[in-house]
Amino acid sequence: SQKIEQNSEALNIQEGKTATLTCNYTNYSPAYLQWYRQDPGRGPVFLLLIRENEKEKRKERLKVTFDTTLKQSLFHITASQPADSATYLCALALYSGGYNKLIFGAGTRLAVHP
């Protein structure tokens, strides 16, 4: 069966440390993968996209890796801050019938403590 798995338990880290979130998937062949941030009571906000032929992308304190052999993406936040506390969703882009659509994981809640 097709699955997207993210750490179900909350990730608690100290301010200044690097947070690493994992997204694993099975039986999908995504064209690309996206990471979104979701705060309570709000819609998801796009953070980064990485294509199937890319290994790593960076944006400021964020870094995403994508290993299509392992079927895994890692999302890193360096020098984390309490303001980074939120739920982070990975989403696979599947191409079918001439259109892309996103399949979301359940998300991982990150809590950064001062």
Binding site: A31, Q34, P44, F46, S96, N100, I103, F104
Partner: protein, 118 residues
């Protein structure tokens, strides 16, 4: 630029009643999506429009849910009749385009409508 607008923000209804949600996407965005997000889960795509045509409604419970996108702009999602398991946040999103496997497809989400069915 203005974001995706949704209304109402909250709705409480009894089971078997009807409810409708409205979405106004970002101007110029051809693709519009409706997602259902149950507490503790990620958003699940219900229906995807390209302009005013449906390109994916494979996960829409068509016996009770319906959606339309008038003139390729605003959209409404309706549930009739509602069930207890429909309690969720309904998110609307839009993007510039979704065609071509390699096309960039950042989605912009609205704040969602929280539906509680009693």
């Amino acid at each position: 630029e203005a974001g995706v607008a949704q209304s109402p923000r909250y709705k409480i209804i009894e089971k078997r009643q009807s409810v409708a949600f409205w979405c106004n996407p970002i101007s110029g965005h051809a693709t519009l999506y409706w997602y259902q997000q149950i507490l503790g889960q990620g958003p699940k795509l219900l229906i995807q429009f390209q302009n005013n045509g449906v390109v994916d409604d494979s996960q829409l419970p068509k016996d009770r849910f319906s959606a339309e996108r008038l003139k390729g702009v605003d959209s409404t999602l309706k549930i009739q009749p509602a069930k207890l398991e429909d309690s969720a946040v309904y998110l609307c999103a839009s993007s510039l385009r979704s065609t071509a496997r390699s096309s960039y497809n950042e989605q912009f989400f609205g704040p969602g409508t929280r539906l509680t069915v009693l």
